[in-house]
C-alpha cells in the first residue's frame, strides 16, 4: 500500500517536473555543479596525493638521512654512535654531488651518490638492477647508473654495461665551485623507477663510497644513510638522533615526509570539500526557489489534493519528491561529469619542480565508492533541504482558503 503510494507520488512528481521542463532543467544544472566540483576536485587531489605519497614511500619507508647543518662535519665517530642506536639496522656515509652527462645528443643533469650501493638497493625496494651488477667497494671508477642515463628520451639504449661515460661534476673547493671531469665505467643499469621526489634514481649515478673521495674529489661526507630495522621504529630512531646531535644535523625520514604530505593533502582535500559545499548551498537556494514558485502556482491543486483526502504528510512527501527527483538527476549528472572532468584534469599532468629538474606527473583520479556515496548523499540533502520548506508550506495550506485562491 505504501509502496504503491510512493510509486504514484514519484510518477506525479515526474509529470509535474516534465510540465515545467526549462525551470526544472535549470535547477538540475544548478544542483549538478556541486557534485561535479566535489567529485572532480576530491578525486584528482586524492589521486595525486596517493601518487606522491607512494613515490615518497618507495624511496624507503625505513630510511633516515642525516645531513650536517652549517659548518658541522660528520665523522667516523658520529657514524659509530649512530650504529649503536637501538633500532638502527645499518648506517653508511655518503658523498653526493651533481654533474652533467651527455646522453645521445643531449646533456643531462644527474645526481651522483657515492655510498654502499647494496644498502641503497636494500632500502629502496622498488630499485632493481636490470643489467650488470653492483661494483665491489674497491671498483672505485665503476658505477650503477639510472635508467634515463643509459637510455635517451626515445628509450633507445645509449650506454651499456662496460661502457665508459664522462661526467662533468661540481666540486666545492677553497676557491668556490669548480668543474671536474671524470670518466667512469658502467657496471650496472637500473630498471626504470619513474618520477620521484627529492631523489630521482633514474637520473642518478651510484658509485662505491671511496669513489667520492678518490674519484670525485669530495672530502666531506654529505650525510649518513640510516636504515632502521622496521617502519615502526623510525620515529624513535629519529628522536634518538635528535637527542644525540641536537641542532648540528638535519634529519630527514621519508616516512615523516610522507606523513607531512598526507596532512597537507588532507588540508587541501578539506578546502576543496568546503569549496564544493558552497556550490551545494547555492543549489539548495535554487531548489527552494523553484519549489516555492511551484507551490504558489499549484496552490489550488494542493487544496484539491487535501480535499480528496491527502494528509499533510502525504502532501509534504508529494512536493518533496519533486526536489528529490531533481537532486537524483542533478547528482547523477554531476557525479558522471565530475568523474569525466577529473580524468580530463588529471590527464593534463601536474608539474613539480624538484632539485634536479621539473617533472610532470600524471596520476589517475581516485574515484572511490565512499566519495560517490558522500557526494550522492549531499546531493540528496540538497533536494531535501531545498524542498522541505516549500513542501512544509504546501502541507500547511488551509484547503478552504486555498480553494478560493486565484
Amino acid at each position: 500500500m505504501l509502496a504503491q503510494f510512493i510509486v504514484d507520488v514519484l510518477r506525479m512528481a515526474l509529470k509535474s517536473l516534465s510540465e515545467r521542463k526549462l525551470r526544472a532543467t535549470l535547477t538540475i544544472v544548478g544542483i549538478a555543479i556541486g557534485p561535479l566540483a566535489m567529485v572532480m576536485m576530491s578525486s584528482v587531489v586524492a589521486g595525486y596525493s596517493d601518487y606522491i605519497v607512494s613515490q615518497i614511500e618507495s624511496l624507503g619507508q625505513n630510511l633516515v638521512v642525516v645531513f650536517p647543518r652549517g659548518e658541522y662535519e660528520l665523522t667516523q665517530r658520529d657514524l659509530d654512535v649512530i650504529r649503536t642506536i637501538a633500532g638502527v639496522k645499518r648506517a653508511e656515509p655518503f658523498y653526493s654531488t651533481q654533474g652533467i652527462i651527455k646522453v645521445g645528443g643531449a646533456e643531462k643533469q644527474v645526481f651522483i651518490y657515492s655510498t654502499a650501493i647494496d644498502m641503497i638497493l636494500e632500502a629502496m625496494g622498488g630499485l632493481k638492477i636490470a643489467q650488470g651488477s653492483t661494483p665491489s667497494e674497491s671498483e672505485i671508477i665503476s658505477a650503477v647508473v639510472g635508467h634515463s642515463i643509459a637510455f635517451d628520451d626515445a628509450k633507445t639504449q645509449v650506454y651499456g654495461v662496460g661502457d665508459a661515460i664522462l661526467i662533468s661534476t661540481y666540486v666545492q673547493g677553497r676557491n668556490g665551485i669548480s668543474i671536474k671531469r671524470v670518466s667512469i665505467v658502467i657496471s650496472g643499469i637500473l630498471e626504470e623507477f619513474g618520477g620521484a621526489f627529492m631523489l630521482s634514481p633514474d637520473s642518478t649515478v651510484f658509485m662505491p663510497l671511496e669513489s667520492g673521495r678518490k674519484v670525485l674529489g669530495l672530502n666531506k661526507w654529505s650525510g649518513i644513510l640510516v636504515l632502521v630495522e622496521s617502519v615502526g621504529l623510525v620515529n624513535s630512531v629519529v628522536s634518538e638522533l635528535r637527542n644525540v646531535f641536537g641542532n648540528a644535523v638535519d634529519i630527514v625520514s621519508f616516512q615523516g615526509i610522507a606523513d607531512v604530505v598526507r596532512s597537507v593533502v588532507t588540508a587541501v582535500d578539506f578546502i576543496s570539500f568546503a569549496t564544493s559545499l558552497s556550490a551545494f548551498a547555492v543549489a539548495i537556494a535554487g531548489v527552494a526557489s523553484t519549489m516555492i514558485t511551484a507551490v504558489v502556482e499549484r496552490i489550488r491543486e494542493i487544496a484539491v489534493m487535501k480535499a480528496v483526502g491527502f494528509t499533510n504528510t502525504q502532501v509534504l512527501v508529494a512536493i518533496l519528491a519533486e526536489g528529490l527527483i531533481m537532486s537524483i538527476i542533478g547528482g547523477a549528472i554531476g557525479i558522471f561529469t565530475g568523474a569525466l572532468g577529473a580524468y580530463v584534469l588529471a590527464s593534463r599532468g601536474l608539474e613539480i619542480r624538484g632539485m634536479a629538474a621539473s617533472i610532470i606527473i600524471a596520476a589517475h583520479p581516485k574515484i572511490e565508492p565512499i566519495l560517490i556515496a558522500r557526494t550522492a548523499l549531499l546531493t540528496l540533502l540538497v533536494g531535501l533541504a531545498g524542498g522541505l520548506f516549500p513542501a512544509y508550506k504546501a502541507a500547511k495550506i488551509p484547503p478552504a482558503l486555498a480553494l478560493r485562491y486565484e
Binding site: M1, L2, A3, Q4, F5, D8, V9, M12, K15, S16, E19, R300, E301, A303, V304, M305, K306, A307, V308, G309, F310, T311, N312, T313, Q314, P398, P399, A400, L403
Partner: protein
C-alpha cells in the same frame, strides 16, 4: 446503521480580520438523512460556501459540532479528518478544479492514490465512476482542456463518487455552465442520487434547487427556512 449521514449542531463560524470579527455562520442546525438530495440556497455572501466547507471538513467551525455517520469530528486530528474526507466525502466544485497536467483517468483516481490501491483496480473503479457520472471511457486519456465545461464537470463528479463516499458536496456545480449543460449536469446528480448517493448542492439558482428533494434557505449565515422544491421548475 445510523440513518443520518451528517448532522450539524449549533455550528458557528467567525472570521477575525484584524480587529474586526465577521460572523459567517450563526448557530446552524442541519440534519442530512442517508440517500437525500438537498439544496442549500441563498444569495452571494450568505455563507453557503463556508457552510459547505465546514460540512466537508475543509474548515473547522468556531463553535458547534459536525457529526458524520454519528462520529463527532470536532476532536479529530488533521490526519483523521483527511481520512474521513477521503472515505466519506466527495467534492464537486464550481470551477471543476481538475488538475490540468493530469489526464482524466489520473484526475479521477486521485482519491484512490491516497489509499494506495493498485493501479489496475483503480482503473476499474474510475471507469465505473465515470460512466455513472454520465461520462465516456474514451475521455480517460484526455487532458481536461480537451473537454467541454459540462464534460469536465462530469469528470469532477466521477472523482467525487469514485470512492463511494457517504455524501457528495457540490458547490455551485452549474455556476460555470450554460442552461442546457447545467440541466444535463443536474440530471447526472439526480441519477447518482437514485443509485443511493447522498447529495448536498449549494446554489443560488432556484432552477437547480428545485431539482432536489428539499431546499434549505440560508441568509446572513443562518438557515432561515426550509421548503419543498417546485418540481415543474427544475432545470433538468
Amino acid at each position: 446503521m445510523i440513518n443520518d449521514v451528517m448532522r450539524l449542531v449549533n455550528v458557528t463560524k467567525v472570521y477575525v480580520i484584524g480587529i474586526a470579527k465577521f460572523k459567517a455562520l450563526r448557530d446552524v442546525n442541519l440534519t442530512i438523512p442517508r440517500g437525500a438530495f438537498i439544496a442549500i440556497m441563498g444569495p452571494s455572501g450568505s455563507g453557503k460556501t463556508t457552510l459547505l466547507n465546514i460540512m466537508g471538513l475543509l474548515d473547522r467551525p468556531t463553535s458547534g459540532k459536525v457529526y458524520i455517520n454519528g462520529l463527532d469530528t470536532s476532536k479529530l486530528s488533521d490526519k483523521e479528518v483527511a481520512r474521513i474526507r477521503n472515505e466519506k466525502i466527495g467534492f464537486v466544485f464550481q470551477q471543476y478544479n481538475l488538475i490540468g497536467r493530469l489526464t482524466v483517468l489520473e484526475n479521477i483516481e486521485l482519491p484512490l492514490i491516497v489509499r494506495g490501491i493498485h493501479r489496475s483496480k483503480r482503473i476499474e473503479l474510475v471507469k465505473k465512476a465515470l460512466i455513472e457520472a454520465g461520462g465516456e471511457v474514451s475521455w480517460l486519456n484526455k487532458r481536461p482542456s480537451q473537454l467541454s465545461g459540462g464534460q469536465q464537470q462530469r469528470v469532477a463528479i466521477a472523482r467525487a463518487i469514485v470512492t463511494s463516499p457517504s455524501i457528495v458536496l457540490a458547490d455551485e456545480p452549474t455556476g460555470n455552465l450554460d442552461t442546457q449543460t447545467s440541466g444535463k449536469v443536474i440530471k447526472t446528480f439526480i441519477d447518482i442520487n437514485k443509485l443511493g448517493n447522498t447529495i448536498v448542492v449549494v446554489t443560488h439558482n432556484p432552477e437547480v434547487a428545485n431539482c432536489t428533494q428539499k431546499i434549505y434557505v440560508i441568509r446572513d449565515g443562518a438557515i432561515v427556512g426550509v421548503r419543498e422544491p417546485e418540481r415543474d421548475k427544475c432545470i433538468a
